[in-house]
Symmetry: C2
Subunit: 299 residues, 2 copies
């Protein structure tokens, strides 16, 4: 079994997601809170200009810039495209990562609670999912784009040998909630504890399987003939991230007061419901299906 010794924790990949940014400040002062005997942990503010501007990004979403071909193209020169290349100097290439583990901290305006987003596949992630659910049962575990090769992946969390995203909400952009920060702090602590126990081959007995949600697709808000939003998420669905949405359930309401129900045959589990950052692209939410992670699987 490979050891996982070097860890980079990044916050502020989106400049108006404050929990990670202020946790970095906290850990800068209280580094003992993230130190573990077998780990060398570093922290970095990923998008300092976006934080200074209190925006998600200046020119482009930083967390969509880490595909290998994009990093290799020097003509892509806006701020986040440049910052991604600077981060890849620090983190190493995907082929030769300098860190064994990259932890990327995010917030959402959606009512998703504390979430562990798995974006790659490896038996280690299955064990981590089991450990996190054992220690913090309210964590929602999500699998997204984990079929992609690392080179194809555009997420910062794929710049380590291993990596995950911690995503916690609900928190308005540019705002800091105590409960949301505390969830992120606790979940990050469990992940570091897991890595320590994993390195020492001292994991406790874990649940054999845990529940997770696998991304299916993003869906758009209803638009009018001019391409402008013609409605919003129905209040019966608002805040119900990771709860079942069945055929016929209210999904949207238009500005003509028409209720639009969910029309799919498959019961789905939406998340990122009404996420403010997705308004640019008129996205309303992501749909997921419930899956089971076999904790001791070798896949």
């Amino acid at each position: 079994m490979e050891k996982i010794n070097s860890v980079a924790i990044l916050g502020g990949t989106h400049g108006n997601e404050f929990s990670g940014i202020y946790l970095l400040k906290k850990w800068h002062k209280h580094s003992e809170q993230i130190s573990r005997p077998t780990l060398n942990v570093e922290t970095l503010l990923a998008n300092p200009k976006a934080f200074a501007a209190n925006k998600r990004y200046l020119d482009a979403d930083l967390n969509r810039q880490f595909r290998t071909d994009l990093l290799a193209d020097p003509t892509l020169g806006n701020y986040e495209q440049s910052r991604a290349k600077a981060l890849s100097l620090y983190l190493g290439s995907k082929e030769q990562p300098k860190f064994d583990f990259v932890l990327d901290l995010h917030n959402t305006t959606s009512n998703m609670g504390p979430c562990l987003l798995l974006v790659q596949q490896h038996p280690m992630y299955n064990l981590m999912a089991g450990y996190v659910k054992l220690k913090m049962p309210q964590v929602n575990i999500s699998r997204d784009e984990d079929h992609k090769s690392k080179d194809e992946h555009h997420l910062l969390a794929t710049m380590g040998k291993f990596g995950v995203i911690v995503e916690v909400g609900p928190q308005p952009q540019g705002c800091l909630r105590h409960d949301v920060l505390a969830w992120m702090e606790e979940l990050t602590g469990h992940i570091l504890d897991f890595l320590e126990l994993y390195n020492n081959d001292q994991l406790p007995e874990l649940p054999k399987s845990v529940e997770a949600y696998r991304f299916i697709e993003e869906v758009k808000i209803p638009l009018d003939e001019n391409g402008e939003r013609a409605g919003m998420v129905h209040q019966a669905l608002e805040g119900n991230d990771f709860k079942p949405l069945k055929k016929g359930d209210p999904m949207y309401i238009t500005f003509d007061d028409e209720v639009i129900p969910y029309q799919g045959e498959q019961t789905v589990y939406p998340n990122f419901i009404n996420e403010a950052a997705y308004y640019d692209n008129n996205l309303a939410m992501s749909l997921s299906e419930k899956v089971t992670i076999d904790v001791y699987s070798t896949q």
Copy 2:
């Protein structure tokens, strides 16, 4: 009794407060929803460039530009200072307003529910408070800066002969919640109904007195020696807008995990708790005291 016939409804005074902006769009298509026999109602998007940029403002807070001396100073020329002068051409001067009533629609990220903010004094507002509480008991009525003369007032809502602010939350910036929009729509409808009944001298019997909250002061988040925020609103207070805060109750928690209690002798009723727009100035919340409005008072 003066009649109130001309009404201007403004939305998007802050460009990332979406409920009013999308209600204007809705009413543009369904104007019957805001028409009343004795009223001539117009609507206007107050800060179109801030809405296009999905920001509260471009250069300065538009809702702080309506003092008479500021409007008279042509050297104050940034975007919002200019837009305020453009709006004063449309709405008339404070001395000679073109509208009998100005209704300004706002959102907050705080858990304030539907609120009616009274920023001037007149017996008509007391009757309106009684009518609104009769029809929609969950409305919180707030009195703020109502001792100021109109000329001294910097709020857009003071540009009519009469005027109020409708403030509804919680809603993240740049986001549209069905429940929050519905509250704003209902409260606006009750205000228009009230004006119609007031004009016709047909108000129903109102409660003799209603509860309200009078602004005392804004308070700052704890800051460190560098003037940076050293903590956040404690989770025991988060979301408890308009609920009592007593001496010794947890108010803040620092990044050193120290709980800072409220130390005032007077029990207060905070609102705008952890409002994202107030981070620029490190404000944590406003404190109010509970007061009673005598609905039939002639003051």
